[in-house]
């Protein structure tokens, strides 16, 4: 039986493993100097120079309201290219690309940790690992930004 796979990039955040479809990923970078932007939500760390393109960077930990953690050797910035937007995501570590068989993907459980359910497309069990599949549209949704501006 031919299996359908979801080719995904797997990264670590707060000791859990998350996955994003690999075709969204433009590049994976080590930490580089980031220029802070004033007046934006705290999870937007600023902008960086990605080979001549000014790219905003989001700290996924803060976006998901996890506690902050200092950068380590393993910290990576995943550059996402989606919907005409180029955005970098700061993650704790980034390992590999794996093929997740579609039939192992289950809908998201009601609650999982402190991550709001909107960000999650589903959960996959793969070789005893639990992978949380993220919904990129929700993560990059500008609604959060607009809410923040309105509160100001």
């Amino acid at each position: 039986m031919a299996l359908e796979f979801l080719k995904s990039i797997v990264f670590e955040l707060n000791d859990e493993e998350y996955a994003l479809p690999v075709d969204l990923v433009g590049a994976i970078e080590r930490v580089m100097p980031i220029t802070r932007i004033p007046g934006v939500p705290p999870f937007v760390k600023g902008v960086l120079n990605l080979r001549g393109v000014v790219t905003p960077v989001i700290d996924l930990r803060e976006r998901f309201s996890f506690e902050r953690q200092e950068e380590t050797e393993a910290t990576r910035i995943i550059i996402i290219q989606h919907d005409e937007k180029d955005v970098g995501l700061i993650v704790d570590a980034c390992y590999d690309v794996i093929d997740i068989p579609n039939d192992t993907i289950e809908p998201a459980p009601e609650t999982i940790g402190t991550v709001k359910i909107d960000y999650i497309n589903g959960v996959a069990k793969y070789d005893e690992r639990l992978l949380i599949l993220l919904n990129i549209n929700e993560i990059l949704s500008t609604d959060v930004l607009n809410e923040f501006y309105e509160m100001k």
Partner: protein
């Protein structure tokens, strides 16, 4: 044959021809008896017909064909041209344009034009087209067009320059003896002499036609030379079989620039044809001639120019980096090389920017038609005057500026200029004037739209603003005229008592203002009640590379556009006064509020306060403010980059740029800091 590769060329040229048609029709409207203009129109229409037939756009070809028939009838004096006919021809041109637009959008250029075709056919037969009979039809009279030399803008410039350079411009008419057998050979000999004497700017008929002996016995050339008229005449007379040589001095002033219309017209050649067969051959001759004349320009796809610009931007960033490295290394040879490279890339930048420049004429050229139509719809008599159409602007600005200008012109025609009777009652000439003027000044281009109409009624604007709850009666008294005029550009504001098709819904001037500000420009209004209003649009020459003052606030770098900086100053702390809890300074006799960039941008701050502040004085319109920074780094040319689609509307930040060390610096939107 694969057509798609020719489609782009077809579209470009069709647009040019349609523009030429419009231009010439407008000229024709002013001089209805000038057959030479009819010929120009005919030529454009004919080329358009040929092109569209080749490309398989049958409807386009058919309509042009009908138009051509009418034009042919007009120039052969079978029918008299009148106002109503012109209207129909204008409509036909509109239909042609719609078809071409359809083709651009990937359609087949089909359109139902039966009504128009019928009207055109009726016209061709000399029937009156539901005539607005009150309008006097003007008889087309034959002028001696043979010797009439029309010059286009390019040729005029050449002549002007040569006149300034001490050369003589002559119009030389050479008549061969009627017995001449080898006319072409004689022409060749004459031309050989002429070219030794100086330069032939233009010949009527064109050179290829002369070579094919397509002329009677005389031809006229425009010659630029250092020799005197007598010498020229004498030297040409040495060729045998020449009957007469007339050499007249050519006065450039005699040619009104307006009449020569846009550069895009391809009408450098002769003025009289009789049969359409001959027309065919001349139009090929035309193309030949055109390619000779335009051999110094090539068409380049705009994408390539954009790509070039992008690459250059990368280079500017690297240049910055090199400058920095050489400054730290302090190696003489390296420094010299880098300096040289900087100069070269500066020149390169100028050239690349210039390549992207297009004359505002590209925007202006559609206005004569629009004004004509609107004036008709509104029953107003309007004289449109255009100045400075050759002023150049970056293409990206040109693309954006059209709509706001259309809006302002509509406004001026609808609300500004009064009806003829109203104007007479006010003691003004019944014909209103609308002036468009474009000019360069510093790093900016200014476009003025001035009308001599009713002007802005201060009281009415204020009444409306009070009614809308924008301000109170008390406040209104202290408002300056400028402030009042700015009110009409607030959103949802319209003083028009009646909403017309053309304007008055109150969704307009605010959009105009926003568009212009998003281009980095601004708009000011000057108006005198009952005397007219002037809207001045100020635009940057280019959008992608700007000069900034780089400043440092703690560890962060901010770039402030030079265009909004008046000057920089060091201010002693004790000179800072407080006005209603707002720190201010006395700057050259004016009270200027101070804004601390580190407060606005929430820069993490250490507590130590210095005695002296570095202040950048910025300006927006009449208002000023001082921005406190920690230190000035210096002036720099930077490439403006957007923050991307994710971060929009960041307060007081208009974009970012990449510095020499690869770091990103934010560009301050000074307008947001001045309230």
């Amino acid at each position: 044959m694969e057509m798609s590769e020719y489609l782009d060329v077809f579209i470009e040229e069709s647009k040019e021809h349609i523009q030429a048609l419009n231009d010439h029709l407008l000229t024709l409207e002013k001089n209805p008896e000038d057959v030479s203009i009819v010929n120009e129109i005919f030529r454009s229409a004919h080329t358009l017909k040929g092109m569209s037939a080749t490309m398989g756009f049958q409807d386009l070809a058919d309509l042009t064909h009908k138009m051509e028939n009418v034009l042919d009838a007009i120039r052969n004096h079978k029918v008299k041209l009148n106002e109503a006919m012109l209207d129909v021809i204008f409509k036909a041109v509109d239909a042609l344009e719609a078809m071409v637009l359809d083709i651009i959008d990937g359609g087949e250029g089909k359109k139902d034009v039966k009504g128009l075709v019928n009207q055109l056919e009726a016209m061709e037969k000399g029937e009156n087209v539901e005539a607005a009979s009150s309008l006097v039809s003007t008889e087309v009279t034959n002028k001696s067009v043979n010797t009439d030399v029309t010059l286009d803008e390019f040729e005029l410039t050449v002549l002007q320059q040569s006149a300034e350079g001490g050369f003589n411009n002559y119009q030389v008419t050479v008549t061969l003896q009627e017995t001449t057998l080898l006319k072409a050979a004689r022409v060749y000999m004459v031309f050989e002499i002429l070219e030794k004497l100086g330069e032939v700017i233009k010949s009527t008929p064109s050179v290829p036609e002369l070579e094919e002996e397509k002329f009677d016995y005389s031809f006229t050339v425009v010659l630029v030379t250092k020799d005197s008229a007598e010498d020229v005449s004498a030297k040409i007379n040495k060729v045998s079989e020449i009957d007469t040589v007339e050499v007249e001095e050519l006065k450039i002033q005699a040619y009104d620039r307006d009449e020569t219309t846009s550069v895009s017209n391809d009408t450098k050649a002769p003025t009289e044809q009789d049969s359409s067969e001959e027309e065919q051959s001349t139009s090929t001759a035309n193309t030949k001639k055109k390619s000779q004349l335009s051999s110094k320009t090539i068409r380049v796809n705009i994408d390539r120019l954009d790509a070039l610009m992008n690459l250059f931007e990368e280079l500017v960033i690297d240049r910055g980096r090199l400058e920095q490295i050489s400054a730290t290394l302090k190696n003489n040879e390296l420094q010299e090389t880098v300096e040289h490279m900087s100069r070269i890339s500066g020149d390169l930048q100028n050239i690349i920017l210039k390549m992207r420049m297009v004359p505002v004429d590209q925007v202006f050229n559609r206005f004569p038609r629009m004004v004509r139509q609107l004036a008709k719809d509104l029953n107003k008599d309007i004289d449109l005057q255009i100045y400075g159409a050759e002023t150049e602007l970056d293409r990206t600005v040109i693309d954006e500026i059209g709509d706001p200008m259309v809006h302002l012109i509509r406004n001026a025609l609808d609300h500004g200029i009064e009806t003829p009777s109203e104007r007479e009652a006010k003691g003004k000439p019944s014909q209103g004037t609308l002036k468009l003027n474009a000019y360069h000044s510093g790093n900016h281009v200014f476009i003025e739209i001035a009308d001599d109409g009713a002007g802005i009624d201060r009281e009415r604007v204020l009444k409306k603003a009070i009614a809308n709850g924008v301000l109170t009666l008390e406040e209104s008294k202290s408002y300056s005229d400028q402030q009042v005029f700015q009110l009409i550009m607030a959103s949802g504001f319209s003083t028009a008592d009646t909403i017309s098709d053309i304007s008055g819904r109150g969704v307009g001037l605010d959009v105009v203002k926003n568009t212009i500000e998003s281009l980095g420009g601004n708009i000011t209004i000057d108006s005198k009640y009952n005397e007219g209003s002037t809207f001045v649009i100020q635009l940057p020459l280019t959008l992608s590379i700007i000069s900034v003052m780089l400043t440092e606030v703690k560890n962060e770098k901010y770039a402030i556009p030079l265009s909004s900086i008046i000057e920089t100053a060091i201010v002693n702390k004790k000179d800072i006064l407080s006005a209603h809890h707002q720190p201010v300074i006395d700057f050259r006799g004016r009270v200027v509020p101070l804004v601390s960039l580190s407060d606005v941008f929430g820069v993490p701050r250490e507590t130590e306060e210095e005695d002296f502040h570095s202040v950048v004085i910025i300006r927006q319109g009449e208002k000023m403010a001082g921005l406190i920074v920690d230190s000035f780094i210096g002036q720099q040319e930077v490439v403006l980059k957007s923050l991307g689609n994710y971060l929009t509307d960041v307060f007081a930040i208009s974009g970012a740029t990449i510095l020499g060390d690869g770091q990103v610096a934010l560009i301050v939107d000074t307008d947001a800091l001045i309230k």
